[in-house]
């Protein structure tokens, strides 16, 4: 099945652009980023704090299958309802640094909307490392199997 998410990450650049069209009205798409209990549902994370406003900050915490807790946090710089969120994002206790994220929300039709995420990393190397995380962590089954294959090649 064709993925609806597109990622534009040019070689040698320190940013990337993620775009996705949703079968959701703009207001619902935006709400998914604003209300703590909704964020918890789709991100699969615990929301310790989410102040959806300029100068606000947020703190998330996930628990992995081994019971280890992982913290995420950031600060909100711009909060324009149904239009734009600018924030920082940091995975705590990792070498990946802080990233700057611009979320742009767009109405396509009454029932569809589009999200454009522009993410800027501290360096090209950090961007590339973050992009490889899902593989390293084997988030998706298909790629877990691939990892097994690769392990056998070592």
């Amino acid at each position: 099945m064709e993925l609806k998410t597109k990622i534009d990450a040019k070689d040698g650049e320190q940013d990337l652009i993620i775009t996705r069209e949703f079968d959701l009205p703009l207001e619902l798409l935006f709400k998914a980023y604003v209300e703590a209990e909704i964020v918890e549902q789709w991100m699969g994370t615990k929301v310790l704090k989410l102040e959806s406003k300029k100068h606000g900050s947020y703190q998330f915490e996930t628990t992995d299958p081994k019971g280890n807790k992982h913290g995420f946090n950031g600060v909100i710089h711009e909060f324009s309802p149904n239009l734009k969120i600018t924030r920082t994002f940091e995975m705590e206790n990792t070498p990946f640094g802080v990233q700057l994220e611009f979320y742009e929300f767009e109405k396509l039709t009454d029932d569809t909307s589009k999200l454009t995420m522009h993410v800027i990393y501290e360096s090209v190397a950090m961007r590339d490392q973050v992009m490889q995380l899902p593989f390293a962590k084997g988030i998706n089954m298909a790629h877990n199997r691939m990892q097994e294959i690769l392990n056998q090649l070592k």
Partner: protein, 108 residues
């Protein structure tokens, strides 16, 4: 290049093809021995082998009259480095968002 890589990921999206890669990862095998590991009809397995060979995940080696299939380690590593798992992760996450919001009922 983008297209070629996308094809590779379509190739590994299929569970039988992933199973074939796992089998062949440890040793070069003939088509017949590969097929004997599956309940699937032999022509179907041949088709899978053909797809894997076309996207260079498998290599064919002639040994006398026999053709052996080998995994192409270089290509497999190239796949591993690529962005697709990242895209898959975001797509899964956004699919979840979409389904959560489709069921969303505003509080009274």
């Amino acid at each position: 290049m983008m297209n070629l890589r996308r094809d590779v990921f379509q190739a590994i999206a299929d569970p039988t093809r992933r199973a074939i890669l796992l089998l062949v990862a440890t040793q070069a095998m003939k088509a017949g021995s590969i097929a004997s590991n599956f309940d699937t009809a032999r022509p179907t397995v041949s088709k899978h082998l053909q797809i894997l060979t076309e996207c260079e995940l498998l290599e064919q080696k002639q040994n006398g009259r026999e053709i052996y299939y080998n995994i192409n380690a270089k290509k497999m590593k190239e796949v591993a480095d690529f962005i697709e798992p990242f895209r898959q992760m975001w797509d899964d996450r956004f699919n979840k968002l979409e389904s959560v919001m489709k069921n969303y009922k505003p509080k009274a």
